[in-house]
Amino acid sequence: MTFSPELEAKLEKLMNSYPPGRKKSALIPMLMFTQDEVGSITQELVEEVARRIGIPTVQVDEVVTYYSMLHRKPMGKHHIQVCTNISCLLWNGDELYEHAREKLGIGHKEVTADGMFSLEEVECMGACSWAPAIQVNYDFHHHVTKEKLDQIIDSLRKLR
């Protein structure tokens, strides 16, 4: 399995960032980067990552199933992650999440029929000072209200 030249360069740099005998440390970033390009963690990708790092596939599975940001199935083009952990909850993060569910018509880790959006209820992402927070792919949005969430979704929809 080969990736785009940019990603290959990134992975090469990644593999060289760890000393000999510690290449296993490249596992999580490698899964994140490759997931972004492939769209999800496919079986083929698991095997490829295992081969590149030199570990059994079962050890890749351990990590993939442990971390919620690694997905076995493709998520939407815009993956909306709503925090409902303590700080965000105090600022009505749960209502925000409910609102997102209603607006998008999908539930936790589900994808809209057109593949544009997916939703995930996530634990703390370290943005407590700006609660409630959401994350769309890698972008943070702070002090989110229902109205602000509507705007974000509408503007993303226009992007196409």
Binding site: P56, V58, E62, T65
Partner: protein, 693 residues
């Protein structure tokens, strides 16, 4: 000697080498700190939190399994906060653990049960439904009951580190965590069952044992594995005369608790439906059951008749019968029948090694040496397949002592993963490849050379000469294939050498020689299957076979005498490293007799006096008369291993490297015997392959 530190545990002053973990320091002082995940010899996990102890001046309880003992440390292992925490930990572990102890295989020998009993956790604050997942079968021998798992990771570590297989992992997280096999719904591994044995609870259970009995209903017999030559002790659990479990949890024997699939599961050959339970005699070209009396009389009459008229005998001996049986058989041949036509399937050139060592008695390694010597050179063997215990010891040596391993093999081997150097070469090119390692090897402090059957004849002498030239202490292991291959040679089942490698006056016929001879009058086969490899050229030969099964050879016999299995008799076996150990009968099969008894009865029927045929009597004779076997009785009698040492001056060689034919058994095959274990043949990996990438 490492620096010593002084600490206090439960008010007792303890001195221990710096770096010792508190849990080990306490254990040495006779203070038990309970733990599930901590396991001697494997990496630290600190997952179960059972070993939390109070340490003065430390704000929180500390995990004794990861805390190195420090100077002046004051530790309390049974104080109120510690006991309270332990109770909480147990309550937590039991939150989802089903209380199916009455039907669980582990009930009675379960570590979680023992801890719950000790700390009296009779009540639980958890009222939620227990999390349940259905049990799964991962292979014919490994079953997984997820809800019982306490996530100690012992199985994962023993498979990764101990076996070097990495077939197990843990997926998901929190209470959803599950142990998972390497191929989604099934295992593809060594099927060794180490994960089952090491499991502190009943999460991993054995295909041969599960739901068959309760541990306290069994009798346990420590005996020696009947398969390869490594000589592992397997403790067989029997109910009545039926063997239902094999393991070695008491860590007795040279293998500690290690066993491969054969030692742990393949005992089922003894109850194979094709097991012979009555003597058979050829009547009108068909083998018919007859009484022992009739069969023995017929054998004795034929032997006496052929002996009297000076006819030709050929005796094919076994690589699996006991030393006593082997010794008695060669005595029968030489003294009773007056022939040196006795041989066996040779799988390693031990004779050449004894000759090459030329009197150096300290150059034969023991199984312990494999674990302690600082460097090893493996030549022409896929150890993980052919010699699982040696492979296990080498891995442990590398893990615990950072020993260096060099491999010279024709294909990839498991040792490559941690080897200091791996060389691929075709058969015959090994010595040249080894020579290329000279510079690296001569920098080692000492070296253990482990060589397979491809190194034979003159090559063995050259290898030893190479070892000598390194200028460091070198020890050797000449690999042989079967449980008593070594004993067969030591006891003189050879046409040119008697017991203790003493040359005989008139060398007899080799095994292929006997098979090719056209005028053989009697072919006597004891626990061997030569017709699987050779044609019998003498059409008129009277064939007598002592066997457990109707093998190719037994099917051609005129008389078949049903023999007992190794697990059904007493005696001694000598393993690949020359270590002699005692067999103890665990089971019994009606109708079959131990080979020694069969030999004795034939001798009596013929009116020969070859001595009393009890194994202890014959062993005494061996101790007195066979070079290297004057080993201490108490060691043997208490079930330990004593190294025999037949090294002497040179052996007058008739080099016949063509006679050395390694069987190339994998983890799942074992000559003719392995075919009769349904467990061995039922796994997905069967028959396996050597040098698999």
């Amino acid at each position: 000697m490492a620096d010593l530190v002084n600490l206090t545990i439960n008010g007792r002053a303890i001195q221990t080498p710096a770096g010792t973990l508190v849990i080990d320091a306490a254990k040495k002082a006779g203070i038990e700190i309970p733990a599930f995940c901590y396991y001697e010899g494997y990496s630290l996990q600190a997952a179960c939190r059972m070993c939390l102890v109070e340490v003065e001046k430390m704000p929180k309880l500390q995990a004794a399994c990861t805390l190195p003992a420090g100077e002046g440390m004051v530790v309390r292992t049974e104080s109120e906060p510690v006991v309270k925490t332990r109770k909480s930990m147990l309550e937590f572990l039991l939150a989802n653990h089903p209380l199916d102890c009455p039907v669980c295989d582990k009930g009675g020998e379960c570590e979680l049960q023992d801890m719950s009993f000790r700390y009296g956790v009779g009540e639980s604050r958890f009222t939620e439904m227990k999390h349940h997942v259905d049990e799964k079968q991962w292979s014919p021998v490994v079953f997984y009951d997820g809800p019982r798992c306490i996530l100690c990771y012992r199985c994962v570590r023993v498979c990764n580190e101990g076996m070097g297989v990495s077939a197990l992992g843990v997926i998901n997280r929190g209470e959803q965590s599950l142990i998972t096999p390497n191929f989604e719904d099934h295992l593809e591994c060594d099927e060794c069952g180490m994960c089952i044995d090491i499991c502190p609870v009943g999460a991993l259970t054995s295909g041969t044992y599960r739901y068959r009995t309760r541990p306290w209903e069994m009798k346990h017999t420590g005996t020696i594995c009947a398969f390869c030559s490594d000589g592992c002790k397997t403790t067989l659990g029997t109910r009545g005369h039926e063997i239902i479990r094999g393991n070695n949890r008491d860590r007795s024997g040279i293998n500690g608790e290690f066993l491969c699939m054969k030692g742990r599961y393949a005992f089922d050959f003894i109850e194979h439906p094709e097991r012979l339970t009555s003597p058979l005699m050829k009547v009108n070209g068909k083998l018919e059951p007859v009484s022992w009396a009739k069969a023995l009389e017929a054998v004795a009459r034929k032997f006496t008749e052929v002996k009297t008229r000076g006819g030709r005998f050929g005796i094919a001996a076994s690589t699996k019968t006991t030393n006593e049986e082997n010794y008695y058989l060669q005595k029968f041949a030489r003294q009773g029948l007056g022939t040196n036509n006795i041989d066996h399937h040779r799988s390693g050139d031990v004779v050449a090694l004894i000759d090459a060592l030329n009197g150096r008695a300290d150059a034969l390694a023991t199984m312990q040496d494999v674990y302690t010597m600082t460097a090893s050179l493996v030549i022409a063997s896929d150890l993980a397949q052919e010699h699982p215990l040696i492979a296990f010891q080498l891995r442990a040596n590398n893990r615990h002592h950072q020993s260096n391993t060099y491999t010279v093999t024709k294909g990839p081997v498991r040792e490559d993963k941690y080897a200091a150097a791996s060389i691929r070469c075709e058969e015959g090119g090994e010595l040249e490849a080894v020579a290329g390692l000279r510079e690296q090897l001569s920098k080692e402090k000492e070296l253990l050379v482990i060589f397979g059957g491809a190194i034979k004849g003159e090559a063995v002498g050259k290898l030893v000469a190479f070892g000598d030239s390194l200028g460091i202490p070198v020890k050797y292991i000449c690999l042989v294939d079967y449980s008593n291959s070594r004993g067969a040679m030591d006891m003189g089942l050879l046409p040119d050498l008697g017991p203790g490698y003493e040359p005989v006056d008139q060398p007899g016929m080799t095994l292929p020689g006997m098979m090719a001879a056209s005028d053989l009058d009697v072919l006597w086969v004891v626990g061997s299957n030569p017709l699987a490899r050779y044609e019998l050229a003498s059409p008129g030969a009277f064939v007598v076979v002592q066997e457990m099964f109707l093998t190719e050879t037994a099917a051609r016999a005129d008389i078949v005498l049903p023999a007992s299995a190794a697990y059904e008799k007493a005696g001694t076996l000598t393993n690949v490293t020359g270590e002699c150990q005692k067999l103890h009968a665990a089971g019994r099969t009606m109708g079959a007799k131990p080979d020694l008894e069969i030999l004795g009865l034939i001798a009596r029927e013929m009116g020969l006096n070859l001595g009393i045929w009890s194994s202890s009597n014959v062993f005494e004779e061996i101790r007195k008369s066979v070079r290297g076997y004057n080993i201490p009785l108490p060691i043997i009698a208490t079930g330990q291993a004593a190294q025999t040492n037949p090294v002497k001056g040179g052996v007058p060689l008739r080099p016949r490297p063509d006679l050395i034919q390694p069987a190339g058994n994998t983890l799942f095959t074992s000559g003719s015997l392995g075919r009769y274990s349904k467990k061995l043949t039922s796994v997905i990996e069967y028959p396996g392959q050597l040098y698999r990438p």
